[in-house]
């Protein structure tokens, strides 16, 4: 076990897997000597050199596109998009090529690749260094999507993602990159894609979240506990596929649920979760499922702390659900 942050875990896990499997290569902007602008690929260049740690030209289309071809040809590329906001110049490669390759070829070709990206706001990054584009990914058949919130899950899901035979979008909560330290299991520690983590069991309300919002939600749960309110805390971790069984089980049992995710409200991934809850366990609901999300505005700079899913907003919403 080693006590480490999320961003350290990314770099070390990549290094371990590159050691184990020489098909694994890393590519992106500044991933080489610089070790990534967040140091998420630190020291890899020194260990594996420019053939396996590739500083690409400044083009997300080239990065993702090259990863697709490498993957189809037998490598296991891990592409870094410097900020999730910059996925869009490369999103056609992800959507039109990667997501549809296995399907369109009748299984003849596939793209076992990972696209890593720091996502989310609260770091004074403004419009283009703060967004949470996960809805775009989950709505695109052929992509898997994970979004861990702890160092251990980062390791476990990153290994699963690299070893997965299909393209996985690996979102990293940049606000938590250095905010949490944790003992991370050594060696071959994997977390299956598609399993949520119940971080806490409680009877009064279910709180569902993922990514940086999971940390906000945890804080809110602590505050609730102080008030004697016990919450079941679910960290989805995987968004596609997402763990319906765990979610529906908890909501059916507790009857009250608040869904927390920082992306804009309209079309937020939690809309999907809420719609599914209502489809499947309507009769167990004792209150409407309420969402705490970002607002339908471009990610603001000056007011970003009001935009995030801060514990205050979560608590007010939980109160509404409890008072219903």
């Amino acid at each position: 076990m080693a006590i480490q942050t999320i961003v350290q875990t990314v770099a070390r896990t990549l290094g371990e897997e590159m050691q184990r499997d020489d098909r694994v290569v890393v590519l992106g902007e500044d991933v080489g000597k610089r070790g990534g602008v967040f140091l998420a690929t630190e020291a890899l260049f020194d260990s594996y050199g420019p053939d396996r740690v590739i500083d690409t030209p400044l083009s997300e289309g080239a990065i993702i596109g090259a990863a697709i071809g490498m993957a189809a040809h037998g490598l296991r590329p891990v592409a870094e998009i410097q900020f999730a906001d910059y996925i869009f110049p490369g999103i056609d490669q992800l959507f039109s090529q990667a997501a549809k390759l296995r399907y369109r070829s009748g299984g003849a070709f596939s793209a076992p690749m990972v696209v890593r990206m720091p996502a989310g706001g609260g770091v004074k990054g403004g419009h283009h260094h703060s967004q949470n584009p996960e809805t775009h990914f989950v709505h695109t058949p052929g992509l898997k999507v994970v979004y861990p919130s702890t160092p251990s899950d980062t390791k476990g899901l990153l290994l699963s993602a690299i070893r997965d035979d299909d393209p996985v979008v690996f979102m990293e909560p940049k606000r938590l990159y250095r905010a949490i330290k944790e003992d991370v299991p050594d060696g071959d520690y994997t977390v299956p894609i598609g399993q949520a983590k119940v971080r806490r069991e409680g009877d009064d309300v279910v709180l569902i979240s993922y990514g940086a919002s999971a940390a906000d939600t945890l804080k809110a749960a602590d505050a609730l506990a102080n008030q004697g309110i016990s919450a079941t805390l679910i960290d989805l971790r995987s968004l596609l596929p997402w763990d319906k069984t765990t979610v529906l089980g908890a909501v059916a049992r507790v009857g009250r649920v608040v869904l927390v995710s920082e992306a804009p409200l309209t079309g937020n991934f939690m809309s999907e979760v809420a719609a599914t809850i209502c489809e499947e366990v309507l009769d167990s609901l004792e209150a409407p499922p309420l969402r705490v999300t970002g607002f339908d505005v471009p990610y603001p700079y000056a007011q970003e702390r009001h935009y995030t899913t801060n514990p205050n907003r979560i608590l007010k919403t939980v109160q509404k659900v409890l008072d219903y």
Partner: protein
Amino acid sequence: MIQDTQRFQPFTQQPISVMSEAGEWSAPFDLTLSGALLRGLYRDMLGARLLDERYSKLQRMGKTSFIAASSGHEAAQVGAGKALRPGHDWLFPYYRDTAMVMALGLPGKDVLAQAMATRADSSKGRQMPGHPGSRALNIFTVASAIASHIPPAVGAALSMKLRATGQVTVTSFGDGATSEGDFHAAINLAGVQGAPIVFVCQNNRYAISVDFRKQSATDTVAEKASAYGMPGYYVDGMDVVACYLVMKEVVERARQGLGPALVEMLVYRYGAHSSADDDSRYRPREEVDAWLARDPIDRMRRFLIKQGLWSDAEDADVRQDINDSLNQAVRDIEAAGPVPTAWMFDDVFAEPTPHLLEQRDSLREDGS
């Protein structure tokens, strides 16, 4: 066959050609290709043309929904396809490359099976017609989105270089594709990395209705190669031997680690853009006729006959053979029967996820 010396110059003003319209050898070096190879080039062009004709007929009969014919592009496509090592090198083609994939070894039957989307289609009826692919032949299954296959082609070439496999990638596209951002992003990366890849642009001077002069401010596509630090060759795409020789040279150079190249082949699309198009809205009839008079298949036949490698009688026989096998192919494809509805849920991922199984079951339930 490829000499040590480089035969062709990049960035010429005139398209590279090695035979006249009349079928006379016109290159400043000797013809050293075998008769078998030359006959093969012709036969492949003819096979593709006859397949096109059959395919069009099937489309008009409603047995397939769409065709984007390769007629007029055969010399370029066969020249390129034949320059690769089948099953070793990789090809990233676009939707018009019927003749190219066939020259590389894909049976015409597979092309038609994909177009007719029966159980005979190895890609399981997933895509619209004109989108073949083959794992065995390393033909990266066509996707409709213009230029979107070019970055993956570069990625495959980088993998080849990294692992020193001795393979080469060829990717093919139209003149319109050169305007897409991904063309640029990809070829730029290939230039920087010296990837073993050849970019083949079939310039028919139209992207559907859009004239090349509205596509690019340059006279040629080839000259764009200099922006990526690689040679660009401007080739007469109606001269199959020139296409073959230039391709062979640049492919082998890439194989030797000497870097990528861009090859522009000047061609003409004999038909409308596709069965969904009406080209009379934008192309003058005289222009079409002038190019029809330069048919690459006729030119090669004249050449072969002059070389004593072909005869009219043989021509008739070969046509008959090809048509017979097309007849048989169509019968077999139809006999295979339609693809099952449930196949719709396979191959999204290597293993189906719970939500896909649920959706498959829900459709069954609905019975619709």
